[in-house]
Amino acid sequence: MRNLIISCILLAFIVGFTAISSYNVCRICDEMISLVDAGEIGKAYEIWQGSADYISFFVRDAEIDVVTAEFEGAHKSFSLEDGEREAACIALRDAINEIRHFEQPSFRSVF
């Protein structure tokens, strides 16, 4: 009976922890995407710097590295022409979206 109680507590903890962490990661990603859409790459990068370590608990390092690289690319593109800047922002948005899709439970992410 003691093992059953421990298991039920563990299950409740896992479900709760997973739901909260997925919600947090999605919220951070949504915030960054809206800032990128508004052209405020600097603010989005600040958020990324503050939460990259937290997100790395749940997401593979490779995906973290991709977003960091895309941020650098988008930052450099501000000295470039409009078309290239837009392409860099789209790539950054896609990289952030990739993390969001991984964390948000959906038919696509599950299967």
């Binding site: 093992n3 298991s7 039920c8 608990f57």
Partner: protein, 156 residues
Amino acid sequence: MTVIVIRAFIFYILLTLMMKLMGKRQIGEMQMSELVTTVLLSELAVLPVTDTDIPLLHGLMPLLMISSIEVVVSFISRKSKKFRVLLNGNPITLYENGKFIEQNLTSARVSSEDVEAQVRINGYRDMKKVDLVILERTGKMSVIPKSDPMPNQSGD
């Protein structure tokens, strides 16, 4: 390398605790669901230990979840006979009244030679001395003799 060693240590501690939580049983005595859980746990533990690109939580969470589910499932199967039968099946009679039951042999995917081998392992020279052979839920075969309650030991 240090990270791998630390991760391996964490998983060793955790797996030991989880195995303790699930109870002590040898592989031959495991129910089907317990065997599935054990195989899954070992596979889950290997990946995050060796691949440092994978977050530790990707290994820890499924590990905790599967072993917790196993404890809950075994509790329910202990309380409900229907659930127990659904999960682990019923014992199957393979040999009775001097005849192999072909239908049961087919459903259990066991040959008559396998049964005869198990009978010999149990100490009986031939099937004439055997009344019943039952394939138990654990995968082991129970051999019940006709009249002699003790199996003939080798040499007599």
